[in-house]
Structure formats: structure tokens, C-alpha cells
């Protein structure tokens, strides 16, 4: 299936979860947060939250700012 991760198209196997999308970007889990279609998915739910075709996934972290 094709989802959108941080604004770019992203191919994932059917049945993939939020964890799959995060691991494709980074090995980190701390300091990282995920929203799917504008809703926060807490870290404890990454493994159990399946993604669907066309989902908009945002994977954020802290950077220099402010």
C-alpha cells in the first residue's frame, strides 16, 4: 500500500503498522512522535495501529529552534 510519510510517497507492505513507518526513517524511538491523519498515535500504540492506503503519517522530532 502507498501512504504519505512526512509529505513524501511511501510504499509499505499491506498490514504495516505505525512502527513500520517509523523504523523506515529512524532506529530511534525516544524523542520521536507520530501523528496519523492529524491525530497523535502514542508510542505504546505504534505496534498495534495499522496503516491504511493514503494515510498521512507525520514523524516529528525536536530540532534547534525558538
Amino acid at each position: 500500500m502507498r501512504v504519505v510519510v512526512n509529505g513524501g510517497p511511501f510504499e509499505l507492505p499491506d498490514g504495516a503498522t505505525v512502527s513500520h513507518a517509523v523504523r523506515a526513517l529512524t532506529p530511534l524511538t525516544s524523542g520521536v512522535a507520530v501523528a496519523v491523519n492529524g491525530e497523535v498515535v502514542s508510542r505504546g500504540a505504534w505496534d498495534s495501529t495499522p496503516l491504511a492506503e493514503s494515510d498521512l503519517v507525520e514523524v516529528l522530532t525536536a530540532v534547534q529552534g525558538g
Binding site: N6, G7, L25, T26, G31, V32, A33, V34, A35, G38, V40, S42, R43, E58, V59, L60, T61, A62, V63, Q64, G65, G66
Partner: protein, 257 residues
């Protein structure tokens, strides 16, 4: 107001020895930032939330952790209350803090805060259990409304972000200070040490700055200057300045005998 050597700054129920809150934006490297943070003596420092870049190396979070500086996520880059609320929730998830510097800007050119969206976001975040520190214009009425809405502090600007124009309306800052029962943190516009000292002399409880240090020719030196300026301004505020007079008042006895 405590007038003792151990003049502790209480914000959101936590105690801080330093009244200088640092931002991390604008530093040419993490090494330069690290030296500046050390020289500043800060105990609370802001970060922004952005899309994770797999190619980026080194983390501002590691640096703050190593220095035991409390991290304060901001909502910089948000234009609407909805964006700011989502960003704050993501920051809470990523950084395990319910503190947020709420920043909702009106346009890219001035980066001035949007009061309507800021107030809307503040109400929603307070209801969601956040310690909300809103960045606002130098508007005493908005400051009062945000305090009534449950914000843990108000953070009026001195002048636009990164402008280095200092405090353009000290009278408004004084009005905000007079009315507030939560801490007032002068946020944005500081250009050099005298601006930070003035903020404290006007009665602000703390100063938040970034560019003035990170974009200085020598960030470590400017950080040390800001640290001294905030301490000096605080002491001067507590000491009570003499009134301004139109004519001289001799400091020696009137005439030789």
C-alpha cells in the same frame, strides 16, 4: 518579591536558579550552541518540533540532556490554533513534558503572534493539562485574559523575533508586569545585554532569547553577557532605582565650610 541571594524563579510550580531562558535556533553548530548554553547558565531552553530528517546527525536533545537543562518545546511555525495544539501534543509525546511555549504567528514577514489563534489554542491546551507559556504582543489586556484562562506565564515580545530592536514599548511591559500574578517573561527582540537588563528592571521575571546569542559574532561571550545582564537587571529592580529628575541633585553637601 524575595530580596535575598537565593532569589528563586518559580515557573509552572518548578524552581529555577537562572532567569535566563534560552532558545536554540540560529546557532551555526551544536558545538557553538553547547558553549553558549554553558556560558548562559540557563536551566530551561526551547526546541522546535519538525519532521524527522533521517540524514541529520547530532541531536539538540542529547545536548540538553547532557547539560541537565529542562527542555521547553515550542509551537513555532504554526499559524492556527489547531496546528499549535497538534504540535504541542506531539511534543508532549516525543519529549515527555507537558510544558509548551505556545507560539502562533500571524504572518511570515513580521512573525508577530496572532492573538485570536493564540488565545484559542491556550484554552484548549490548558484544558488538556498543559503548562502553557504563550508568546504574545505587548498587550496588557490579552496578557490578563491569558492569565485568567490558566496560562502559567505570559511572554510579551519586546520587538519582533530576531529583530534585535530591543523593547520598543517599555510602558506596555510595565503595565503587564503591574497587573500579572503569573510570571512575565520578556520574549523576542532582545539585541544586546542592555535590552535584557532593561526587561528585568521593568519587572519581568525572566528573559527568553536566542538570536541575540546564537547569531552574535561570539555566542559564548554574548551568552555570558546576557547572564550578567539578567542578574544585574533583577538586582536593580529589587534595589529600587532613584527617580528621574529634571535638574541635578547634589550628592555632596551644599557648600564648602
Amino acid at each position: 518579591m524575595t530580596e535575598t541571594a537565593d532569589d528563586v524563579f518559580v515557573l509552572g510550580g518548578e524552581k529555577f536558579g537562572s532567569r535566563l531562558i534560552m532558545g536554540t535556533g540560529g546557532a551555526p553548530s551544536l558545538e557553538v550552541l553547547d558553549q553558549a548554553l554553558e556560558a548562559s547558565g540557563t536551566e530551561l531552553t526551547t526546541v522546535a518540533m519538525r519532521r524527522l530528517d533521517p540524514a541529520s546527525r547530532g541531536s539538540v536533545l542529547d545536548l540538553l540532556r547532557a547539560r541537565r537543562i529542562k527542555v521547553l518545546p515550542n509551537t513555532a511555525g504554526c499559524f492556527t490554533a489547531g496546528e499549535a495544539v497538534l504540535t504541542a501534543r506531539l511534543a508532549r509525546e516525543a519529549l515527555e513534558t507537558d510544558w509548551v511555549k505556545l507560539e502562533v504567528i500571524a504572518d511570515e514577514r513580521t512573525l508577530l503572534p496572532d492573538p485570536i489563534e493564540t488565545f484559542d489554542a491556550a484554552e484548549r491546551l490548558v484544558a488538556d493539562g498543559f503548562v502553557v507559556l504563550p508568546y504574545i504582543g505587548d498587550d496588557p489586556a490579552l496578557a490578563r485574559r491569558l492569565e485568567q484562562a490558566g496560562c502559567a506565564a505570559v511572554m510579551p515580545l519586546g520587538s519582533p523575533i530576531g529583530s534585535g530592536l530591543g523593547i520598543r514599548n517599555p510602558h506596555s511591559i510595565e503595565l503587564i508586569v503591574e497587573a500579572a500574578t503569573v510570571p512575565v517573561i520578556l520574549d523576542a527582540g532582545i539585541g544586546t545585554a542592555s535590552d535584557a537588563a532593561l526587561a528585568m528592571e521593568l519587572g519581568c521575571d525572566a528573559v527568553l532569547l536566542a538570536s541575540a546569542v546564537t547569531r552574535a559574532r561570539r555566542p559564548d561571550l554574548m551568552a555570558a553577557a546576557m547572564r550578567s545582564a539578567v542578574e544585574s537587571g533583577r538586582l536593580a529592580r529589587q534595589a529600587g532605582r532613584i527617580p528621574r529628575r529634571r535638574y541635578a541633585e547634589a550628592s555632596s553637601p551644599a557648600r564648602p565650610a
